[in-house]
Amino acid sequence: MRPSRRFPLAALVAAAALVLSACGGGGDEGPAAASGPVTLTWWHNGTAEPVRSLWQQVADDYHREHPDVSFTVQPIQNEEFPTKVPLALQSATPPDLYQQWGGGDEASQVESGRVADLTSSVQGWIGGLGSTAQGWQVGGKQYGVPYVQHVVGFWYRKDLFAQAGITAPPTTMADFAAAVGKLKAAGIAPIALGGKDRWPDAFYYDYFAVRECSPQVLKDEIAAVKLQDPCWVKAGQDLQGFLATQPFQTGFNGTPAQQGAGSSAGLVANGKAAMELQGDWDPSTMSSLTDDKDLDAKLGWFPFPSVPGAAGDPAVLLGGGDGFSCTTRAAAACAGFLQYLTSTPVQKKIAEAGSGLPVNADAVASLKSESLKAVAEQTRKASSVQMYFDRAFPTAVGQALNDAVANLFAGQGNPEAVVQAVNQAATGNK
């Protein structure tokens, strides 16, 4: 799952630990010999079932087949990773294998010198994952490997769409505006948005930019962290125009995304709103927020509509994924395990567990619901998957972008300010 960025008390504990760890110092351990028994410490975010048992089973299975490799599996709360990983990478004993979402965070972590360059170990098989794995590269080198992919799109309730007289999911922004109008006329809140958490706001800006900017501009200017093309401002203007149609539920700026029945996911799950722009994990989030056992059958998915006349490729999706990075101590053994994680039998189990879309196309049939299979099919057909901007950019820049977009949603700032916030954060200005 995408980090929901909820509050970690651990942040404060970690703050103290950060300060204290600096006193510790401590020397590096030498790299383990290429062969010989090795125990991998594995930090993953599967604290809840069924993923928790799945990872333990995968580790046990791998150990049975490779007796030289054993594991110390440590499930860690998702929200703790952003603080625990930097501390661990500064310490004498970082984990050998840890949760990695790629992009700008990964690039920052690579600066520590502790994250293993896996390029040569994975080159025999990484191509099988398609373009997805590129999100886990830094400067053309593979520092992590994804095991599931995520894509963002509109999850909608078929029953409410039918009630409002919408016959087919909208494909263009004009269709979409008409659908929003029909839902409002029927007295249904068209879109639920978890604006309190800010990152759901950014999905909208990201998607308008993906539609407005040509693939080349996206690739070059995100990599350079310098937004110069007019399409970035155009995306903000599109968003402002869209906000002016007031498509969201009341009080969306204070609504959490994934917490409680009053969250945006909860509103859709309980039929209080018709749709939500969210990742593929949304149905599993929703199912825990409602008593409705038939929810999966009521949910449908469609990609973000095309923007007429825009320079972007309408077949590009926005997304990301979950992966793992290795640290340098036992990189070879670790890379072997990552290959195992992307093998078809393991990928099928991951798909069954519902933690995301398998990166191995052969495992797609094992996905739990028809709508998820449809998402996987659309993803396969997509010309590319653009990583969420807040992950693609360096961490500080991504957060500055999310804040600036959230201001737009609160009726403050302007499209130029969003672009300016990114460019300023990129130069180190606060």
Binding site: R5, F7, L9, A11, L12, A14, A15, A16, L18, V19, L20, A22, C23, P82, T83, P86, L87, L89, Q90, D105, S108, Q109, E111, S112, G113, G195, K196, D197, R198, Q249, T250, G251, F252, N253, G254, T255, P256, Q259, G260, G262, T395, A396, Q399, A400, D403, A406, N407, F409, A410, G411, Q412, G413, G428, N429, K430
Partner: protein, 321 residues
């Protein structure tokens, strides 16, 4: 008043100290080392050293990875104060502190005076008032976050009693969110103030009220001129705790709003976590932490010097005599 202490025991002590000075001094030092040592080590290790390190980090631009190489001097401080969001955060902390004193304090005093009377069910009432304080801040925040959602408990309650016109976007309106948070804070901390003041009221001798009544003072005059002055030390401590708490406000804000919408409820501490941790700007975050520390420290020193000193100098006895 007690008679002056007889001089003899004192002389004996002095005498014995002169008799075995070296051994006595050695024992005192040993006792000091044993009793103070562990706490001093902890205090230095967990308070002084981290403060020093934070000051050191705050002079660098550092994302938490690799060595500290990019020395930027006071640039982080300049950036913090140069940014409207951080200045706004300081303003929000000040607003909360002022509101606490202007609204929570009179409310606490009033309720404490009420609960000090011999009422039916007084113990139950006291417990009800104190109950929210026992909840952790995180639990409080989650409960109120859910209750304050649009069409949530609060809205339905207002509509149910015919006050539907008062329904607002409690957490989504940038102009309102800070005051919503203040109400939640008041709900949570009022009980603490009341318990503190009730304890203070226990220290008001009943003879004084009796004497005032015999002198013909009305109930209000007794409260105003006898009880409140004697509550002075308690009130001053409450103000101290309240202001420091307002300056360090974090948990409620982080869980309920994350400082939003549009930074309308950002506090210094939430800004620190948002910009230090979430953005991997540990140097800048340290600078913000140092500013927060300095503000609290200066307030504490000034307050101790000018307000709390009266209490240590025996304001109580002076007021009585």
């Amino acid at each position: 008043m007690a008679a002056p202490a007889p001089p003899r025991p004192l002389a004996r002590t002095v005498h014995s100290a002169r008799e075995r000075p070296a051994r006595r001094r050695g024992r005192t030092r040993l006792e000091l080392a044993l009793l103070l040592g562990p706490s001093l080590v902890l205090f230095a290790g967990f308070v002084l050293v981290p403060i020093g390190i934070a000051v050191y980090y705050s002079l660098y631009s550092w994302n938490g990875f690799g060595p500290l190489t990019n020395f930027v001097g006071l640039q982080n401080y300049a950036d913090a104060f140069g940014g409207a969001v951080f200045r706004g955060a300081i303003g929000h902390n000040v607003v909360i502190a002022v509101l606490s004193i202007v609204i929570q304090l009179p409310l606490s005093i009033g309720l404490a005076l009420l609960l000090d009377r011999k009422l039916k069910g007084r113990t139950v009432l006291r417990m009800v008032v104190f109950a929210p304080y026992v909840l952790s801040e995180a639990i409080t925040a989650v409960i109120w976050l859910l209750m304050l959602q649009p069409n949530g408990f609060v809205d339905e309650l207002l509509r149910g009693v015919g006050l539907g016109g008062l329904v607002h976007q409690w957490l989504a309106d940038p102009g309102l969110v800070l005051y919503t948070l203040f109400v939640v804070m008041t709900w949570k901390y009022l009980g603490f103030g009341i318990i503190l003041l009730l304890a203070g009221l226990q220290g008001v001798p009943p003879e004084l009220r009796e004497a005032a009544a015999l002198d013909g003072a009305t109930g209000w005059q007794t409260t105003r001129h006898v009880v409140l002055p004697l509550l002075g030390p308690t009130i001053r401590i409450w103000v101290f705790l309240s202001v420091i708490g307002s300056l360090q406000l974090f948990d409620l804000v982080w869980i309920m709003t994350l400082g939003g919408p549009a930074n309308a409820s950002t506090t210094m501490a939430s800004y620190l976590v948002d910009h230090g941790f979430k953005r991997y700007e540990f140097g800048f975050g340290s600078a913000v932490a140092v500013v927060l520390f300095a503000i609290c420290f200066v307030f504490a020193l000034v307050y101790q010097r000018f307000a709390l000193r009266r209490d240590t100098a025996g304001a109580l006895t002076r007021a009585v005599s």
